[in-house]
């Protein structure tokens, strides 16, 4: 796994869909459009300084869009989550394509808030969307409708708009259907430009539950950014080491290393790529979208966020406008959905990526090892290893094929029964426990007094498994319960890792580390340890499984993500991860 950042394992990106033809057009975006964007920015800054309400802002944006002659409307929404209500107002407008009946569409969006940069409000992003609306409607070459959306909040507004657009309004969302709609949305660009000017254009691409957009979209925008906009293109807001050699030295974790290590280009490159992958895993494993674009992915729309990396210069509205215009012209060329390039990849640097075949084995190997060890335990549970006494030896020497000589001592293997029901009930019981715990965590009582409730829940989750760990059966004819349970536990964990590895590699990689180590070492040693040691071990496991309950903000955020955005991370941890580690704890409890 630690080999993933090595440069030679990655390969160069390329455009797979011939229809895209990125950076092949002359752009028309010019200074007058920049001026218009500046004027919008002036108004928006006024709204921000007056602490205007969502309603006022949305109304302003709607009016501006309607003044351009577009079909514009606002949308009110209220989310009900266990942590409280959340409401806001979105504004959007639809530009009908002059060339086709509105059966396909592309979206340009910006959200009111920005979470990546230092500035909290994405005012310049919204201004450029408005200016683009004014600019794009002058051209008759659009083959798809263009939808301009300004979402309130950070993720919630976009989520409400998308659900209303697709008519999939969940019960906890209160909103009406949209006044105007268009056709199927194929691609979307989300713009996050919160700083004053920018030096690089960063791309954020991770979507809900670890879905990634088609790589062609990212590659096209990269080429456009280089050739049309003249802006260097990076992943996230990570500058490449040679972009700022002086500062890299101080931010690098190798800063205190000897000179020859610090200045080694290979190591610098390795660190840069590792940084990108860690950031990627951090988003993807939690299923968290890295920006508002991630919400589109649920509806099978390929979307990315273009993040203008804040700097004192040299680029501004002019370059960004050109890039977005050219990117829209490129996606306008599409005849079918993006499907040609990759959906499963790791971006190690803007121009290089790893195919799934290169990185998948790292998680699958761990899972295979767990499976083999689980099956090994199963086989061991079926056989009894006993030393033959003197009396039996003659009998055995008569030619039992299953007895063999080990040194001078005769050893015989005997089959024994493997009662299945108890381990199966333990496994089922712990998972049901996880499900109950998850439902409890969503209740308002839990949210209000978090510390007390999580202490109680943790206690319950630690003590309840003792039901399963009853008295050990000492008869040698029956396989020990703990060995059987361990074998089940390992096999189950292996299945979980190998099936998630394709869906969400980052999650599988994290699980491979957090599950493999505790589960493999949960076993009973031959000499039974004192009671207190096994108890301590059990409590450690319990902390591994449920200790995160005490991280108040994380839990709250994860539950909110599940309720509002539908991110599977919280239920997955409660129903799959926690119980698996608890089972390992029960194994360690048995002598």
């Amino acid at each position: 796994m630690s080999l993933i950042p090595i440069a030679s394992l990655s390969q160069g990106t390329y455009i797979d869909e011939n229809a895209l033809q990125p950076a092949q057009v002359n752009t028309y975006w010019n200074w007058q459009d920049v001026h218009r964007a500046d004027q919008y920015l002036y108004h928006l800054e006024g709204l921000r300084d007056r602490n205007s309400t969502s309603e006022e802002r949305a109304q302003f944006i709607r009016n501006e869009l309607a003044n351009l002659g577009l079909r514009a409307a606002t949308q009110n929404y209220t989310f009900t989550a266990s942590s409280g209500l959340l409401s806001g107002v979105n504004a959007y407008a639809i530009m009908a394509s002059p060339r086709t009946p509105s059966s396909e569409a592309m979206v340009i969006s910006a959200t009111w808030r920005s979470e990546v940069g230092k500035e909290p409000y994405n005012l310049r992003g919204i201004s450029i969307v408005l200016a683009l609306a004014a600019f794009l409607k002058n051209y008759s070459l659009w083959a798809k409708d263009i939808i301009f959306v300004i979402g309130d909040g950070y993720l919630d507004g976009m989520q409400a708009w998308l659900n209303a657009y697709h008519g999939t309004i969940p019960p906890n969302l209160e909103t009406s259907l949209l006044e105007y709609t268009s056709g199927v949305i194929w691609t979307a660009l989300n713009i996050d430009y919160s700083g004053h000017s920018f030096s690089h254009l960063g791309v954020f691409f991770e979507g809900l539950n670890g879905r990634l957009p088609n790589q062609d979209l990212i590659n096209s925008v990269r080429l456009i950014s280089h050739y049309t906009g003249g802006v260097p293109f990076i992943v996230y807001d990570h500058l490449e080491p040679n972009d700022f050699p002086d500062r890299w030295q101080t931010t690098s974790i190798l800063a205190n290393a000897p000179d020859f290590i610090r200045q080694s280009p290979q190591l610098q490159d390795f660190e840069y790529r590792a940084k990108n992958i860690v950031r990627h895993i951090n988003y993807q494993a939690r299923g968290k979208p890295s920006g508002a674009h991630g919400l589109y992915h649920k509806f099978r729309i390929d979307a990315i966020t273009l993040f203008a990396v804040p700097a004192t210069g040299p680029h501004g509205f002019l370059a960004l406008g050109r890039i977005v215009e050219s990117a829209l012209r490129t996606t306008n060329n599409l005849l079918e959905r993006l499907h040609a390039s990759f959906f499963f990849y790791l971006f190690t640097s803007p121009g290089t990526f790893m195919k799934i075949g290169k990185f998948l084995p790292s998680a699958v190997l761990v899972s295979a090892a767990m499976m083999i060890s689980g099956l090994g335990d199963w086989v061991n549970a079926g056989w009894l290893h006993e030393a033959v006494t003197e009396n039996d030896r003659e009998e055995a020497a008569a030619g039992g094929p299953s007895s063999k000589i080990q040194g001078k001592k005769m050893v015989r293997w005997r089959m024994r029964r493997r009662p299945l029901l108890r381990p199966i009930f333990t496994v089922l019981g712990t998972h049901v426990m996880g499900l109950l715990a998850f439902n409890l965590m969503r209740s308002p009582i839990f949210v209000e007094n978090h510390l007390a409730a999580s202490l109680l829940l943790f206690g319950a989750l630690t003590i309840l498994p003792f039901v399963f760990a009853s008295l050990p059966d000492r008869t040698p004819e029956v396989a020990p319960f703990s060995l059987l349970l361990k074998s089940f536990n390992l096999c189950l964990a292996s299945i979980v890792i190998s099936t998630t590895s394709l869906l969400n590699f980052s999650l599988a990689a994290i699980l491979a580390i957090t599950l493999a180590v505790p589960l493999m070492y949960s076993s009973c040693s031959r000499s039974s340890p004192p009671r207190i040691v096994s108890l301590a071990k059990y409590v450690t496991y319990s902390f591994l499984a449920w200790g995160w309950l005490f991280l108040r903000d994380e839990v709250k955020q994860a539950i909110w993500n599940w309720e509002v955005l539908g991110i599977w991370f919280a239920p997955f941890i409660c129903i799959v991860y926690g119980p698996l580690v608890t089972q390992a704890g029960v194994v360690s409890l048995q002598p």
Partner: protein
């Protein structure tokens, strides 16, 4: 599980489930793992609607169910209770099969056998999805139950009915006839040549033809014609007109195939199913119930328009044959393969159909895992059924055996 109240409680829970409204259930009815075009509840309702409005339901190519379902549900409303009752009947039949195999009235394993059917997720989920495969399974089990209890007329009638509902079940014709003239008790450990009278087999076969013809006539009167319904319902499993994905192995081959090869490969695939009948029935001529069990396994792997209910029936029937358990070589591997397949199928289906980042190959790969799991189950059951005849003698005795071929 050993208390006499266990099974009634379980059945009551199953009935209660028919009234509970769970949000999860709505999605199940469209799930490709649980319903196929031949068993889909929506198509059945559409057909019923057309039928009630005087349109021939078999004209549009929507309805592929047997006309008998139409006649059943135009008298009884197709509520979820019907599915729950059908599950309970299936479990009851399975317990009765177990009784007649053991030649005893009540036993301590009754609860386990019933639970193996009622709690099997492969059986329960299609039933919650209102797939008509639930009724097909129940009729198959009733057939085997009557045959095992030595009641030829009901058994043959049930068999004719089940072949009507799903043509693939005709694989069971030979073992059921054999079962009627022999005993259902386990003879796996002491194989001997087929002892039934061929004259009786012939007599029962003729009786079956009579029942079957009567049902064909009834269905034709019901559907107002002979050709249309036969072409739509039986024809569907022979000429595969609808290539909706399912966990089976047929659909992908025929989506990829050039049209001029289609008739040939349809013939190959159908013959492939039929080819297993004779070897299995000859090898297990001493235990026809076991032969029927193996053929159900074949159906549960290679059937056209497979849904999870088909392998589910095979897996549940393992509960009736406890004598083979010690001889199963890789039961855990089979179970793990099924666990993999049942996780991968919905995930890859979502990846392809909902998220759009996978394609049909992903789902087909998952259905291949399902095929491997089904195959592993059959091979293991086949091996154990034959291995049991050699027995597990003491070590000294085993020394005398020489393994010539393995």
């Amino acid at each position: 599980m050993e208390s006499p109240l266990f099974l009634p409680t379980l059945a009551a829970c199953r009935l209660l489930l028919a009234w509970v409204q769970l949000p999860v259930l709505d999605g199940l009815q469209l799930d490709h793992q649980l319903t196929s075009p031949l068993t889909s509840y929506f198509r059945l309702k559409e057909g019923l609607w057309l039928y009630h409005h005087g349109v021939d339901p078999y004209l549009g190519g929507v309805l592929k169910h047997s006309p008998l379902f139409l006649s059943l549900f135009s008298t009884v409303s197709p509520g979820r209770v019907a599915w729950a009752l059908s599950d309970i009947v299936g479990a009851w039949a399975l317990v009765r099969i177990w009784h007649s195999r053991q030649q005893l009235g009540q036993s301590r394993r009754d609860g386990l056998v019933g639970a193996a059917y009622l709690l099997n997720p492969y059986i329960l989920l299609p039933s919650l999805a209102s797939s008509t495969s639930t009724f097909e399974n129940a009729v198959v089990l009733l057939t085997l139950m009557f045959a095992a209890e030595g009641r030829p007329s009901p058994a043959l009638l049930a068999l004719a009915l089940s072949i009507h509902l799903s043509l693939s079940t005709s694989l069971l014709l030979v073992p059921v006839l054999m079962l009627l003239v022999t005993s259902p008790t386990s003879r796996l450990a002491s194989p001997r040549p087929f002892g039934g009278s061929y004259w009786m087999v012939f007599k029962y076969a003729s009786e079956f033809v009579v029942y079957w013809s009567v049902l064909v006539c009834a269905a034709s009167i019901m559907a107002g014609g002979v050709w249309n319904w036969m072409h739509e319902s039986w024809g569907a499993s022979l000429i595969l007109p609808d290539l909706t994905p399912n966990p089976g192995l047929w659909w992908y081959f025929f989506t990829e195939m050039f049209d001029h090869f289609r008739p040939f490969f349809l013939m190959v695939f159908s013959t492939h199913l039929a080819i297993y009948i004779m070897p299995v029935c000859i090898k297990f001529q001493h235990d026809a119930l076991y032969a029927a069990f193996l053929l159900l396994g074949i159906l549960g792997t290679f059937k056209p328009y497979l849904t999870l209910a088909d392998p589910g029936l095979f897996l549940s029937m393992f509960a009736v044959f406890p004598e083979i358990y010690p001889y199963l070589r890789h039961a855990v591997v089979t179970a793990l393969l099924h666990a993999h397949a049942s996780l991968l199928l919905p995930l890859f289906h979502a990846l392809w159909v909902i998220e759009g980042r996978g394609n049909a190959n992903f789902y087909y790969a998952a259905s291949l895992v399902m095929g491997v799991a089904g195959g592993a189950g059959i091979v293991d059951a086949c091996f154990a059924g034959m291995r049991i005849a050699i027995g597990n003698g003491s070590e000294a005795e085993r020394g005398k055996w020489e393994v010539v071929q393995q």
